[in-house]
């Protein structure tokens, strides 16, 4: 295993989430789950990170910020998206300002579903991300994640749909 896969440092960006996912992510660092066993350190700085962890449903305002932060993570890197918000918009889906998934802004390597996902699921996601980091460190190309099929998309009312399309145009 490459050294990169043995010391994946994560940087966490709250991209308009309800904070549920963020609290569960921090639970991963507590003595009960202790992800530092795998060498994971939570750094507050994208320039030191290997894994960019994004929570929340991206909106028109912070899409630019998310892109900027992603560009600051040195290659090879992996993006992990936590919660259904990051795949479909979750409970925010259909709001006038929601883009509907962070994969519209940056390439996502691992989706972790749940609202919020359990810490065990997150650790599983990190394990997948570590595998991808290992492959990337060896110079292999890795496929992007498929959007999870379990999405919390409420039926969108037509009047709520209208501003989204006008914003995009």
């Amino acid at each position: 295993m490459k050294a990169l896969a043995r010391s994946p440092w994560i940087c966490h960006y709250n991209c308009n989430s309800c904070n549920g996912c963020d609290i569960e992510l921090l639970a991963c660092l507590t003595p009960l789950y202790d992800v530092e066993r795998f060498g994971v350190i939570n750094v507050g700085n994208p320039k030191h990170a290997d894994i960019l962890v994004v929570t929340g449903s991206v909106n028109h305002r912070n899409a630019r910020v998310l892109k900027n932060i992603y560009d600051q993570v040195p290659k090879p890197n992996v993006v992990v998206a936590l919660g259904v918000c990051t795949s479909s918009g979750g409970i925010f889906a259909g709001c006038y300002n929601i883009l509907g998934g962070i994969d519209k802004v940056i390439p996502v390597d691992v989706f972790v579903v749940g609202c919020p996902p359990k810490p065990e699921a997150m650790i599983d996601g990190f394990a997948k991300a570590i595998g991808l980091l290992d492959a990337k460190a060896k110079g292999l190309s890795t496929p992007l994640a498929e959007k999870p099929r379990i999405c919390m998309v409420p039926t969108v009312r037509p009047e709520a749909e209208a501003p989204v399309s006008s914003e995009k145009a």
């Binding site: 010391s7 060498g39 700085n45 320039k47 030191h48 290659k75």
Partner: protein
């Protein structure tokens, strides 16, 4: 004693110092994790971290900053070489201070406010611990009648017996040097702080690796100096250094980060008085 050529000593010191330093850092992370009820990373985690950092993409913000990172490392290597060859301790002190100043300048030449505040605080850290270092060297001078590091070994009796209070003050100063709580105001090795990563925030990939490598050298220097307080027996020296290092880790886990002003006030009162009273005591 066997006559070893000087160049061999220099090469061995430069190769083994960071290896020992990284190992000590590994012990520290494991121990801290156990203190917090966690299992903690593997013992060799700092080696993996360093290897990873050197394999990452090199993002250069500005060339001067990178130059300062290299100078930071170079001066620290000079410090290690001077110390291992038993040279003038004042010179060791200057080379060491230059190394820190390079880090400060590197933090100053970027636009990030976090990095700049980190640099300011690093200056305050230097203000806090340098007097202790100088008093320690003066104490060693009074003790043996010369500034040469190698004369410590000719003394015939351990330094700790004549300089116990200075040793205590040095352990406290070492905690500032190694960025341990409650003194880790400029940058910190674990968790977030209000400065995110402070002085090293704008370094990434291999350049952060250089800073980490320098830190490993620095751990070796602090550990080595603590061991030199008991020179007559190797195991006693090692035990003393481990006790000092263990105390640092314990206090690091017990206390929270405090303010810069508090740090300067504290260092200029209790450890400084300890070191001064030790000097008065041994003054002939």
């Amino acid at each position: 004693m066997v006559d070893v050529p000087q160049w061999l000593i220099i090469i061995l010191a430069l190769v083994y110092a960071p290896i020992i330093g990284l190992f000590l850092m590994g012990i520290e992370r494991k121990l801290s994790a156990r203190f917090q009820g966690r299992i903690g990373p593997p013992l060799f985690q700092p080696y993996y971290d360093l290897m990873k950092l050197f394999s990452k993409e090199a993002l250069v913000l500005n060339r001067v900053q990178i130059l300062y990172a290299y100078l930071h490392l170079a001066f620290m290597m000079v410090t290690v070489v001077l110390l291992v060859l038993g040279q003038d301790l004042l010179l060791v002190l200057f080379a060491h201070a230059f190394s820190t100043i390079c880090l400060i300048l590197g933090g100053m030449c970027v636009r990030s406010p976090y990095s700049r505040i980190g640099s300011h605080r690093k200056i305050m850290q230097m203000v806090a611990y340098e007097p202790i270092m100088i008093l320690m060297v003066i104490g060693i001078y009074i003790n043996q009648g010369s500034f040469m590091g190698r004369d410590v070994f000719l003394l015939g009796k351990p330094m700790l017996l004549t300089l116990p209070l200075i040793f205590v003050a040095f352990v406290v100063a070492g905690m500032i040097k190694l960025d341990k709580s409650p003194f880790d105001v400029a940058t910190s090795h674990h968790a977030h702080q209000e400065l995110v990563k402070g002085i090293t925030i704008e370094y990434s990939g291999p350049f952060l690796g250089i800073i980490e490598l320098t830190f490993a050298y620095e751990v070796f220097v602090i550990f080595g100096v603590m061991a030199c307080f008991w020179t007559t027996n190797l195991w006693a020296g090692l035990g003393l250094a481990l006790a000092g290092y263990g105390t640092m880790i314990l206090v690091d886990n017990l206390t929270a980060r405090l303010t810069t002003n508090w740090m300067v006030r504290y260092m200029w009162s209790i450890p400084l008085v300890l070191a001064l009273s030790n000097l008065i005591w041994i003054y002939k």
